[in-house]
Symmetry: D2
Subunit: 343 residues, 4 copies
C-alpha cells in the first residue's frame, strides 16, 4: 500500500517539482495538492506539463483536512507562512518536510534577524536539517525536516570534507551561480527575460543573502569552530542549476581529491568527478545528483572546491524526497534514480 | 527477468537519451553500448551525467557479439550506416529499432533520391514505421521498426486527425521550430553558441529538408491521396523541443477541436490542450508527451494545427521505447510516465 | 545647431532605444526625457547602461513644457495614453512621432474594435504611417507619424513587392517569431525567464493579435484589394529580433527574387539576401536593417517570403528615427548606419 | 582626410568587431580586410550582418601590400601567427595594434612557457600594453600595441585602484564568467549550443589559463611587488560579456568605493556604479564601457571588486580602437561613444 502524502504550496516551482518526483515514486500516492491563490484550479491548469497526467484540483491548506488524508506532508509555502502549518500538522502526528526557511536556522536569534519573528519557536528545536550527507542518522527519526536552501546545499557539499579534514582554512569565499528558477515563479523585473536572459550579474553580495547564516551554521558544525563565508550569488541565464566555487587557503600540500573520494564513497547522490573533469550544471539538471571536484592552485595556495546541482532537485524537492526515503526506511534512492536529461 | 537490449550509436544525443530512458525502464537491462569513434571509452566519460551511474564501456558494433548478448537492439547510427547493421541483426533473429532514416521511406526510389543508395533494400519492405498513434497494430509484430524523424512526428501528429476527417485541404504549410539538439552532437558553425544562441533562422526550406518526403508519406497514407507540404524548419535558441504549426484551408466551419479530442482520446501520450491553451515546448521537455491544439481563423478560412514535443523523446528515443513496449506486449507507457521537468 | 527633441515614455524599452539612437544622432540634441511612474529619477538609474553617459532626469510629460523645449517629440507611451499628448503637441505646432498604436489604423471603426475609443479622432486622418519604404513621400511633410508595429514592419516588408507585382495570392499566412523585448519592460508570467527562457510558444493566434488589422491595412493598400492574413506570433527565447515567414500561393513560375531586388534596390535599410542565404535575426540585431529573401516551393506552389529585423530598431525606434530624417530633409541614414554587433 | 587602416584576421569575431567599430569611426577608412582561409570571399559572405553595407573582399595578408595601403594595421590573427606579421609591418614603418597574445607578456621566458617560442623577440620590448587606463602616456607614442586579453582587462580594471592604494591584500581570487564568443568562431564541443546553451561551467582553473600571467604582470606593476592570483574562468550561456569578481582581504575598514571613484574619475569608459548597484554584463554589451563596483564584507574582512564589460569591445576590439585614438592624438572616445543596446 502506498503512503499518502500531501503537497502544500503546490503552485510554486518547488511544489511542482515535488509533484513530479512524488508522481514517479513507487511507494507514494499524492493524496492532495494545496495552494492559496490558486485554490480551486486544476493543477494542470497552473502547470500545463500535467495535461493528461493529473486531474488533481488545488485545495486550500486546512491542516485538519490534510492530516486526515495524508501521513506525510511537504510544505513548499513561503518562509513565514510555513511554520504555523507545520506546527499544526506535527501536533496532529503528521511527519512534515518543510522546504521553506522557517526551521533551517537553529539559532532563533539569527532566525529573527534574517527572517523576522518565528511563528513556531517551540517546534524549532525538534527540526532536523535535511541534508542527508550530514544528518542521515537524525533524519531517520525526524518528525519535522527543514529541507536546506539550494545555495547551502551546493556550498556545503562542495567543501564539507575538506573542512572536516582540516584541509582548508577559513574564512571562505563562496562564489555561486544560479539559474533563474531559484527566484521562484513570481515575475519581477530582475527575472524578466530581457533583463536576465542574456547577461550575468551578482546580487545580495557580501553578507546580504539569507543563505549566508545557513551555510555558516552547517560549516561550523563540521569545523567545530566559527566559520565565516563571504557569499556572492549570481543570476545566470538558464532555468535550473547552481554552480558553487568555494575558495579558501589550503592547509596541506595535497590529498584533496582523495579526501573527497573517501568522504563521499558511499553517498548515492554525490559524484566526485575524476581529476581533469569539472562540474557543469548541464550534467545534473533534472536529477538529484551533485557533482563535486576540487583543485589546488599551488602558486597561490588556494583551494577551489566546486559543486554543481539542480536547485529544484538536490537543491530542494529531490532532497526532500531523499529525506522522506530515510524517514520511511526505504532505500535512499527510491524514486530518485532518474538520469539527468542532457542535453 | 529483464530483457537484454543493446544501444548502437550510444555516443550521440539520441543514443544517450535511449540510455537514459532504458535505464529507467523496469523490464529492460542494458546489455551493451556501442560506438565507433568512442569505442573503448567509458560512457560516463563521454556523458558526465552518468558519473556515478554507469560503468559501461563503449564497444565496437559487431553484430555477432551484439546478437549474442541482446534480444532487442536500438540503432542510433547515422543514416547510411545503420541499414547494414540492422540487416545483420534481423538476420540473426534480433528485433531492431532503427532511429536512423534508413527504413523510414517505403519508396526506395524516394530513399535513393534523398539519402543515396539503400544498403539493405530487401529488408526495407519489412520495416514498420514507428509512430504508434498510426501504426500500433503492425508495431506489435514488427521485427524492424523505422523510428520516425522528429519533425515528421510533430507535423503528422499535429494534423493527422484533421486530414483523416477531411477537415483540412492540401497543400499544407508546415512551419516548424526546433531546438539545437536536433542537429546532433557534432559541432558546426550553425550550432556554435554565438551563432545560434540568441537568434532564430530558417534553414533547408521549400522542399530541401529530408523530412519532407517522410511527412508526405504518412499524410498521404491518412488522406488516401497525394499530399504536398511546404516545410520550413527553423533553428531556435533552446536545446530541446519542436513546435510545429501546420496551416491549411479549412473544409468545414467547426468541429476541429472536437475532432482532435475524439481521435486522440485513448492515446497515452497525446494531450489535446483545452481551448485557449496553446502548445509550448517547455511543457513537454524531457517527457514523451506531445501537446496538440487547433485554431480556426474564420476570417481567412485557415486552420492552424499545432504540436509541441521533445525532439529527443517523443521525436526519437522515447518513441522508440514506446514502440518497444508495443513489440513486447508491455503496457505502452512502461518506463515513459515521467513528467516533464518544467521549468 | 542641433534639433532639440524630447522622448516621452522614456522608461520603456522603445523609449530607451530612442535615447540610444538619438544620442548617437549628429543633428539632434535630446532636450528632455519624460515618464510617469519614474518621473524624478535619473534615466541612468532606470537604465544602468547610461551610467557615466547621461545625467538626464525623467520629468512628467507636460505638453506645454515639452513644446517649449523641443521641436520634435517622440512618444513611446502605451496606446490609449499617447493620443491626447500627441494632439496637445501637434496643436502647439510640434512635429510628433508616435510609437504607440494610436494612429496606425486609418479606419477609426477598426481602431475602436481593437483598441477602444480613440482619444484624438480628429487628428487621426492627418497621421502618416511611418514605413518609409511605402510612405516616403508623405513622411517628408508629416506633422504626425504613426510609427508601425514591429510585426507589421516585418510582415509587410517581407511580402510587399510580391503583392504589388501580383506574384502572390491571398489569403496569406504570417508565421512570425519574436524576441521577448517585444512584450515591453513590465514583468509577467509569460516573460518570466523560467517560463520563456528555454522554450517556444505561439500566442494570440488566428486573428487575435492587434497587429493583424495593421498588417492587412498596409497590404490592402499595396494590393488595391482586400487582403486577409492569418497571423501566428510566437515568443522565442531571445531578447531582440523578429523573423517573419509569409506564405501564399505563387501566381507565377519564377522571378520572385528578382522582384525583391528590383523593388528594394534603392532602399538604404532593406537587404535582399543572395539566393541560398536565409534571414537570421542575429545578423540584424541592434541595427536598423531588415534582411529579406523569398523561396518558391515549386512542388506545392507556395511562396515563402521571409524577413528578419530588430523589433526595437527597424521595428520601432530606429524606424522612428528614419522617419525623423525624412521629415527634416536629412540623409535618411543619418545616425542609423551602425552595423549589427554580431555575435 | 581619413586614416587608411587594415584589419588582418578579419574573419574572426574580434576582426568582425574591429570592422564594425572602425566602420563607424569618423577619422578612419578601412583600406583592406585580410584573412587566410577565407581569402577571396566577400566579407559580407562570411558575416551576413554586412549585407548591403560592405563589398570588401578578404585578401591574403601580404605585409608589403598591406603597408602600401594602410597607415595603421590591426592584427586579429591567432597568437603565434601574429608576431611575424607585426614585425614585418613595424619594419615598414607602420603602426600596429596586435589583438593576439604575442606581445602581451614582457617576460619572454613566461611567454615561452605559456605560448611557445616567440616569433619576434626583438620587437617584444617595444610593445606597449594597450590598457589606456594604466598605460595612456606610453600608448601615445607606441609603434606596436599589445591589446590586452579580455579577462585581464576585466580583472585588472576591477581591482587596480584598490591594489595601487594598498587597500587589498594578495593573493587574490579572480572568479570570472565569460560569454561564449570569447572562445572565437571555431566550433567545438565545448561551444556547441546543446553543451553550452543552458548550463554554466568552470574551465582551465587553478593557474591553467593563459590569462593568468597577464593578469599578474599588470597587477604586479601596480603593486610594485609580486602578486599571485588564482583564476577561475567560467563559460556562461550568453554570447558576449565578462563579469569578474576579484576577492582579497581588506587592508582597511572603508574608503573602497571612494577609492574607485577617485581613481576613475576622469576615465571616459570606466563607470563606478553607485553604492547598491552591481555590475551586469547586459548593461555594457556592445559598448566600450566597463562598469565597476566594490563591496566590503566586514564579517569576513573580504573585499569583492567587480567589473562587467563586453569581451569583444572593451575586452578586445573597442580597446584597440581606444588605443588607436590615443596613438593618433584624437579624442579618446572617437567612434566609441555608442550606448549599449540594452536589452
Amino acid at each position: 500500500v502506498s503512503l499518502p502524502v500531501a503537497i502544500v504550496g503546490a503552485s510554486g516551482y518547488t511544489g511542482a517539482e515535488l509533484f513530479r518526483l512524488l508522481h514517479a515514486h513507487p511507494e507514494v500516492e499524492i493524496a492532495g495538492v494545496h495552494g492559496k491563490s490558486s485554490a480551486g484550479k486544476r493543477l494542470a491548469e497552473v502547470y500545463p506539463q500535467l495535461a493528461g497526467v493529473s486531474e488533481l484540483v488545488l485545495e486550500v491548506a486546512d491542516p485538519e483536512a490534510i492530516a486526515r488524508r495524508a501521513e506525510v506532508v511537504f510544505s513548499a509555502l513561503p518562509h513565514g507562512e510555513s511554520a504555523a502549518l507545520c506546527e499544526a500538522l506535527v501536533a496532529r502526528g503528521r511527519r512534515v518536510l518543510d522546504l521553506s526557511a522557517d526551521f533551517r536556522l537553529r539559532d532563533l536569534e539569527a532566525h529573527r534577524a534574517w527572517y523576522g519573528e518565528h511563528h513556531a519557536p517551540a517546534l524549532a528545536a525538534r527540526a532536523v536539517y535535511g541534508l542527508p550527507e550530514l544528518h542521515r542518522r537524525e533524519l531517520r527519526e525526524a518528525a519535522l525536516v527543514a529541507v536546506p536552501g539550494c545555495y547551502p546545499t551546493a556550498a556545503v557539499l562542495a567543501v564539507a570534507p575538506l573542512l572536516e579534514a582540516g584541509l582548508i582554512a577559513t574564512p571562505l569565499v563562496v562564489d555561486a551561480k544560479s539559474g533563474v528558477s531559484g527566484a521562484g515563479r513570481s515575475p519581477s523585473l530582475a527575472t524578466h527575460f530581457p533583463e536576465a536572459g542574456e547577461g550575468i550579474r551578482p546580487y545580495k553580495i557580501a553578507g546580504a543573502h539569507r543563505h549566508t547564516p545557513e551555510i555558516e551554521q552547517e560549516l561550523e558544525r563540521l569545523a567545530g569552530a566559527p566559520v565565516r563565508v563571504s557569499f556572492t550569488p549570481h543570476l545566470v541565464p538558464m532555468s535550473r542549476g547552481i554552480l558553487a566555487c568555494v575558495y579558501g587557503a589550503a592547509r596541506a600540500g595535497g590529498g584533496f581529491h582523495e579526501c573527497l573520494v573517501a568522504r563521499w564513497r558511499d553517498e548515492p547522490f554525490v559524484s566526485v568527478l575524476p581529476p581533469g573533469t569539472l562540474p557543469d550544471t548541464s550534467f545534473v539538471r533534472g536529477s538529484n545528483r551533485v557533482h563535486v571536484a576540487v583543485a589546488h592552485d599551488a602558486r597561490t595556495g588556494t583551494l577551489v572546491a566546486m559543486s554543481a546541482l539542480d536547485n529544484l532537485v538536490k537543491g530542494a524537492s529531490g532532497q526532500a524526497v531523499q529525506c522522506l526515503n530515510l524517514m520511511m526506511g526505504w532505500p535512499e534512492t527510491t524514486g530518485l534514480r532518474a538520469i539527468a536529461p542532457f542535453p
